[in-house]
């Protein structure tokens, strides 16, 4: 989606609504984090535990679907990493029904599927399916580049993630 000028300005004026600076202000954003180390396995196979990533902390609104973002997990406040699966205004399947994301909310999902995680001895992935939509105040940055380990250095793949199709009847279960 292209962001038009006036919208951007309006967004900036509304506190916490994901204007260019959001709630944290310019200084807060430039403080970082610029580099993060990944722990745990829910982004397998695209991002593995132990990967070192570069983060762009200057983002103030949810990046496009398929982007990898660092944010504070609702409830616990821990820094976590997930992929944007739904942006503000999108419909997402939630608990046998459809939910429309508000102006400042995103739907964040893990890459790994639960069976694979459980087979590897991990638990289920914890993402929006567990804690619901995430408001933009929780957004910390967009991860865009892997600089370690050497053999996997490069921009993070950003597969095209289609919007959920809101069909008739209950949502598909995964």
């Amino acid at each position: 989606m292209t962001v038009t000028g006036p919208r951007r300005v309006r967004g900036a004026l509304r506190p916490g609504a994901g204007g260019p600076l959001g709630l944290r202000g310019l200084r807060g954003r430039l403080k970082g984090p610029w580099r993060v180390a990944v722990a745990e396995a829910s982004m397998t196979p695209s991002i593995l535990a132990g990967d070192w990533l570069l983060v762009d902390p200057s983002v103030g609104r949810w990046p496009r679907r398929g982007s990898v973002v660092v944010f504070r997990e609702p409830g616990s406040g821990v820094l976590v990493i997930k992929r944007v699966a739904g942006r503000p205004g999108d419909w997402v399947p939630f608990s046998d029904a459809w939910l429309r994301l508000a102006d400042d909310e995103a739907w964040l999902m893990s890459d790994a599927d639960d069976e694979a995680l459980e087979a590897d001895g991990h638990g289920r992935a914890v993402d929006s399916r567990a804690y619901g939509p995430v408001p933009v105040e929780a957004l910390v940055g967009r991860a865009w580049f892997r600089y370690w380990p050497v053999r996997r250095v490069g921009r993070l793949p950003k597969p095209p993630v289609p919007a959920f199709r809101r069909g008739p009847g209950p949502a598909p279960r995964d």
Binding site: V36, V38, A39, V126
Partner: protein
């Protein structure tokens, strides 16, 4: 300091997944609910205001624990596929949790008894969907 150390990020982000222990048993909720029941009994039998204050305080604490244990079963143990075996699962947990709130606010034995009955229904649902064989460690001496 090695160059690698310099490059290492200082922030850790988690690609979060659960590590559940997989141990679940409605008995945990039942025991706390029994505490509530017994406390109400003792409350009714004793006129001492200090005792009664303590009883109410402890009852509320125990009731909170009932809620917690019910929620863990509801959120973590029961999975969407269990709905086929127990179609009224959500209603049941809704009713049970509402009943806990009632027990918190009241000193009626009937309310506390009703909560025990609801937990027994949760117990039945747990048994239909796997029960002890799946969620407890075997080998406890009988």
């Amino acid at each position: 300091m090695s160059p690698l150390r310099l490059l290492a990020p200082r922030t850790v982000v988690r690609a979060h997944c659960d590590l559940p222990c997989g141990i679940y048993d409605p008995e945990q909720a039942r025991i706390e609910a029994e505490s509530c029941y017994r406390i109400v009994e003792k409350y009714l039998a004793n006129e001492d205001p200090t005792f009664r204050t303590r009883a109410i305080h402890i009852k509320e604490e125990r009731a909170d624990l009932v809620k917690h244990h019910l929620d863990v079963l509801w959120h973590d143990y029961f999975k969407p596929e269990h709905l086929e075996a127990v179609p009224n699962l959500h209603q049941l947990f809704w009713d049970a949790n509402k009943q806990v709130s009632k027990v918190k606010a009241s000193t009626s034995l009937d309310d506390a008894r009703k909560l025990l009955d609801l937990i027994d229904q949760v117990d039945a649902a747990w048994k239909t969907t796997g029960g002890e064989g799946k969620t407890r460690v075997a080998g406890r001496p009988g």
